[in-house]
């Protein structure tokens, strides 16, 4: 009786590690870099590497994570110069010459080692009027929103943001102008600008225009190219530019009309 033995498929280079191989990891902390050596493992993620270092080599290493599956957005770090979710990034996909350089997210204050404070990020989210504004007298009935209407589609394009801060760290304008609201806050504002139920549009458009607002975007596309959810904050910001320009023209023509009437 012959038993057919399955032939193992060739190893996937992004999943399988060479047995015995090691990884050199440089982690930015305390104003310098600290070097570690970690064993390569199959399907190893950057978060696995950081966790292994913290649990087996240096328990004082600070970093942040929660879900480990790309839902919470708390494990974002700068990996070899690019902001990424470390839980969804495999070592094999990004290691350069069996080396990794891990740094905290750019544009945010470092709390310790790889953990950054997210306060400025969420303060700007609030400053961009990122909360739904129902108004003083919300309508009693439901708003009918057709799923294929342009406004609803514009909301759909940006609504999946989980505020991980990767776009904020990738943005050059935030690096130049610390007051700039940033891609995530402006993306959130754009989803609400397209919400027919919202009653705070004038104040929101006012908040997102100006020197720290959407008009400062240089269309570098960094946020759109780095977003782990493949959202496009650049286009949300472009939408806000159009909306704020339209609103300014309306105000101007209304003033002119009042004067000439």
């Amino acid at each position: 009786m012959s038993v057919s033995v399955p032939v193992p498929a060739p190893a996937d280079p992004t999943v399988e590690a060479v047995p015995g191989a090691t990884l050199r990891v440089r982690i930015r902390r305390d104003g310098g870099f600290q070097a570690f050596t970690v064993a390569r493992r199959p399907a190893q993620t950057i978060l696995d590497v950081v966790t292994e270092i913290q649990r087996e080599q240096d328990p004082t290493l600070a970093y942040r994570f929660a879900c480990r599956v790309g839902m919470c957005g708390s494990c974002a770090m700068t990996v070899n110069g690019r902001p990424r979710w470390t839980c969804r990034t495999r070592v094999a996909a990004v290691a350069e010459d069996d080396g990794l350089t891990l740094e905290p997210l750019r544009n945010l204050p470092v709390v310790k080692d790889l953990a950054v404070g997210m306060e400025p990020f969420f303060e700007k989210w609030t400053a961009a009027h990122g909360a739904f504004e129902p108004g003083d007298a919300p309508p009693a009935d439901f708003a009918a929103v057709a799923p294929d209407s342009p406004a609803r589609r514009a909301v759909d394009a940006g609504i999946e943001c989980i505020n991980c801060g990767v776009c904020y760290a990738a943005c050059d304008v935030v690096a130049w102008n610390p007051d700039y609201l940033g891609p995530a806050a402006l993306n959130r504002a754009w989803t609400l600008v397209n919400d027919v139920r919202d009653r705070g549009q004038a104040a929101r458009l006012e908040a997102v225009s100006g020197d720290a607002g959407c008009q400062s975007c240089h269309t570098h596309m960094s946020c759109t190219e780095h977003c782990p959810k493949a959202l496009a904050p650049t286009f949300a910001i472009a939408g806000l530019k159009r909306a704020t320009a339209r609103s300014a023209l309306k105000r101007l023509s209304a003033r002119h009309f009042r004067r000439s009437a």
Partner: protein, 126 residues
Amino acid sequence: MSAGTQTAAPRPRSLRAARPRAGFAAALLHRLSGIALALFLPMHFIALGTALQGADRLESFLGLTHNGFVRAAEWGLVSALALHMVLGLRVLALEWFVTRERTALVVSACVAAGLAVGLLFLLGGA
């Protein structure tokens, strides 16, 4: 595995900017070509203004421009004008038509188009 060891002095620069950089390069070229054009405009108006003082005055001024340095500057100016235009069209296309692009490819094409116009200017013998 080895325990962590503090390495030598940290790199002097602060956190590196995020890669890739094609969009940044496009914005930089757009800004620099715009500044070059803005600096050129007053000189252009001065040249035109000499025509108000008669054809001879204009001719003598134009005579000053017949040297290699000015020719090279003219080539740079034509390239900058073309580059500024195509990079501006790129931004308009991105922001008005919400088109996803392969940034590095599109920016390279824009730079190539700008330089091609400059080359045509040179070949035209202007």
